[in-house]
Symmetry: D2
Subunit: 310 residues, 4 copies
Amino acid sequence: MPLTVEASGVFPIAPTPFNPDGSVDWTSADRLFEFYHSIGSDGVTVLGIMGEAPKLEPEESIGLVKRAVAKMGAKPIIVGVSAPGFAAMRSLARQVMDLGAGGVMIAPPTNLRTDDQITGYYAQAVEAIGTDIPFVIQDYPLTLSVVMTPAVIRKIIQDNPSCVMLKHEDWPGLEKISTLRGFEADGSLRHVSILCGNGGLFLDFECERGADGAMTGYAFPDMLVDVVRLQKAGKRDQAHDLFDAHLPLIRYEQQPGAGLAVRKYLLKKRGVIASEAQRKPGAPLSAKARAEVDYLFDRLSKLDARAKAA
Amino acid sequence: MPLTVEASGVFPIAPTPFNPDGSVDWTSADRLFEFYHSIGSDGVTVLGIMGEAPKLEPEESIGLVKRAVAKMGAKPIIVGVSAPGFAAMRSLARQVMDLGAGGVMIAPPTNLRTDDQITGYYAQAVEAIGTDIPFVIQDYPLTLSVVMTPAVIRKIIQDNPSCVMLKHEDWPGLEKISTLRGFEADGSLRHVSILCGNGGLFLDFECERGADGAMTGYAFPDMLVDVVRLQKAGKRDQAHDLFDAHLPLIRYEQQPGAGLAVRKYLLKKRGVIASEAQRKPGAPLSAKARAEVDYLFDRLSKLDARAKAA
Amino acid sequence: MPLTVEASGVFPIAPTPFNPDGSVDWTSADRLFEFYHSIGSDGVTVLGIMGEAPKLEPEESIGLVKRAVAKMGAKPIIVGVSAPGFAAMRSLARQVMDLGAGGVMIAPPTNLRTDDQITGYYAQAVEAIGTDIPFVIQDYPLTLSVVMTPAVIRKIIQDNPSCVMLKHEDWPGLEKISTLRGFEADGSLRHVSILCGNGGLFLDFECERGADGAMTGYAFPDMLVDVVRLQKAGKRDQAHDLFDAHLPLIRYEQQPGAGLAVRKYLLKKRGVIASEAQRKPGAPLSAKARAEVDYLFDRLSKLDARAKAA
Amino acid sequence: MPLTVEASGVFPIAPTPFNPDGSVDWTSADRLFEFYHSIGSDGVTVLGIMGEAPKLEPEESIGLVKRAVAKMGAKPIIVGVSAPGFAAMRSLARQVMDLGAGGVMIAPPTNLRTDDQITGYYAQAVEAIGTDIPFVIQDYPLTLSVVMTPAVIRKIIQDNPSCVMLKHEDWPGLEKISTLRGFEADGSLRHVSILCGNGGLFLDFECERGADGAMTGYAFPDMLVDVVRLQKAGKRDQAHDLFDAHLPLIRYEQQPGAGLAVRKYLLKKRGVIASEAQRKPGAPLSAKARAEVDYLFDRLSKLDARAKAA
């Protein structure tokens, strides 16, 4: 299904499951997408920064997109197509749309500095992939070193009708959401979907500021789905209660560099994927880190049990 | 009191209280240091990055150090002396030591890249300030863009006998603490104190990894004191329970750029300082952010009340 | 004399002469300013990046400004006042203006990224130092990592009447000069002086693009004076002939990091300063580098001799 | 022919010739490689940073390698294989070696900081492409933001027997060559070829410091060949005379960003390629820049004529 400005809810960032020998674990990939579908995700994002995309052969990347399309019902699939050149970006974008993807996500190259460089880059990217492909702006200064003001984001959206979503991952970022929704209220910006990343670390308030949901890979996307649902239903305290119970683990998983290993370990613990293996070069969890995650997981389970008993 | 490698516990990073007209609020400064003293802090750090030091006139900086020395009992005062040149660093360091400070903290300039550049810089800094002044390495890659490996930190410590402490603020940083304590265990590194920053966001586990405590400015340093005490007493679950209750607020305060305003707002709410004013250029809280902090504060108060009732 | 938008010609960036023991060599400082004055410089810049300013004690900085004022006739003295905080910037700026300086130069802090951050910073700086002090924008992305578009520079100039000059040191930078002068032609930008840096490496064409001259520390400022004069007189080929003869040495001196040592060595060779010493931490010339500079100096001398004979 | 540690002389960095409609101009590509071959180049480098590699479709990249192999006699072809992930790097490396390339060039990703990160990256890259492929370290801090000390380069070379060359493009870089050759003299480093970049701006002295030649794309590679030959023959003054005549143009072409347009324009002027077109996104020359290049070209031609007449 094509991605539109009405997209809302939770789009998990899918990790790529590997076997311990480094090959793609297609069975786990299928199970992962089925899991995302079953818990009420509204779509999924593949080949993102946390999807180990640069370690994949082209046919593996394509394979993942096909599985996602096949397993996620008619829900929109977003594919990360950021690349060092427009040739590769165009080629991947057109290919995955033909396979049934709903849209693509584009991150700015890390050497962009001025407002004009950033808006110019997106204009060129859209010219390269074609104006018919719905695209997502990835705003992630912590990792990409590119700082986009609300005015720059507005210009990209207004100049490019095929822009349908902002993947919001600035930090701090709450005021940015308010500013963008304020632009919309004053008529200077058309509506696009805003989904938030940063491992979900601020999802509680991001919803209250006007975000439509989350696009992140936290190992409990079912909780993210519930928090967004509760917030949309106006059940603020319940949303925060649920969110706060997860916060020790969210915070642990959100550590740059180490986070992917935590995420895969938890997804394995939960029975979703078979192995926590990363393709080389990877950063495996130390024994101490593993024990810490176990400890937080146990505390969360006890809280859950207590909540259900109550 | 001179700072030594035995330093342990909590050294709050003191903000500088201002009156709404931009002048230093000396009454609040006195009350702030009295507060830190009364809750069982083991020392205090002034003129740090979050202390708005570059906005102060030289005599104001000196005034703050004097107040800290006067109000904190015999506890060691650490003074941030990072400067674009060694002339200013030396001059400030010698001056504050004469006034009774216990040691100084030195951050690397943001343009350092290679291991040799970093160790070379600390060698020069020590030559500049003199080998008789106890100093703290500030390892804060997120803000300073300087990445120090454990081996680099070891070399600085081993080469410079006047190094007594690491202000640990890498992110992620838990493995770094374990590696450094491992160096100590295998005899390749002498013992120094490790106090952790990052707003306290990982203090629960940092203590377990071998850190001696916290050096950070979270608006509830009393909680930091309790967490460190509980961890030292081996009361792990209680430490985490207390910590987790604060985590929503810790996380909110730890946002770069916005954090200082949150911290001052909370200290004012708690009656410690009279105004949340920052000297220009400052970033005040929006009405929405203020309401969010109020909401988290109320939730924390209810949790506290419930905990006390239990 | 106050610096105005009519400033033109050559403003050497003065190095700070030191004795081999690290103390300031005031005799050489006097001789240096006399030299600049005698060769027809139109002003001078002190306490710039290449003036080792952060290594100076406050009273030494002030001393240098006083000498420059005393020795340069009524020519305008520009003083670098960039600082990590506005308190120090204000204090130094007001002090040197009282001593007779003509204006101050302000570089943006290296962490600025967006257009708004840059224009906002200059607004705050002007508020801090006062609107009565003529100031120079230092645009030097290679060293400062801050990229200012022509539109950003225009906004700073238009918003701040006390801006009188652009120190132009972008690289590449020729189109930027043309764009700014184009803004002036189309009425969207008032006239300010543009003096160019980068060690003079593009001075030949910068003059042709509309720059008013040079602000740089190349060890033969007399040549810079002649090139600017020839270009103003429309003697293009002669200007290039003279410039090209110096280009091997200009290029050699313009190497980042190593350049200051080359510059001081050449000024010593020319009898202007007594020692090439840098205050610690410095980067002295290797024996090989010294021999290379000697070789280029000799080749230049032979070319000069031949030119005079012709 | 396989690339070995004995490689020496000039390896031009080949631009990719395009037709004005953006398609690859294969006729010009053939003529370009024939030109490089005929002037006495010792090899050629394709798909480098200045070869617009990221703008090429995979089959175009392969096509260029095939042409180079076919037209350059048995001379070694170096292929740039830097990529965001090791999957793409491995795949391209193995493919071009099968087609007859002599070796590959690998640049470090821009986010590497510490010594260990850099040496670790090259270890992983070699593991990915296989230890049987001769490779070149690309040391280019100005563009890549990765700073490699001589000790780090030594470790990469010593740890990886398949490393045969250093593409030296540090700036300043003369001392680095001397240090590396000093390592070789003291027995701590085996011999590898060192070819220099930076548009040739320091080739005169780089040869004297121990470099084996140049790997750069200056539009007069015939001059580079002559300078290296003269230096090897011990004709120092003649080498410098020839070099200095080109320096105004070398300097002009070496401007980051603008340089490729200058290079293509000059190669077109010289009749080597049919069009100066860059594939989008490109930065064409302004009319003023074009006139400046014409002016420098004419001055060079007159000097040449005079030199031949003498």
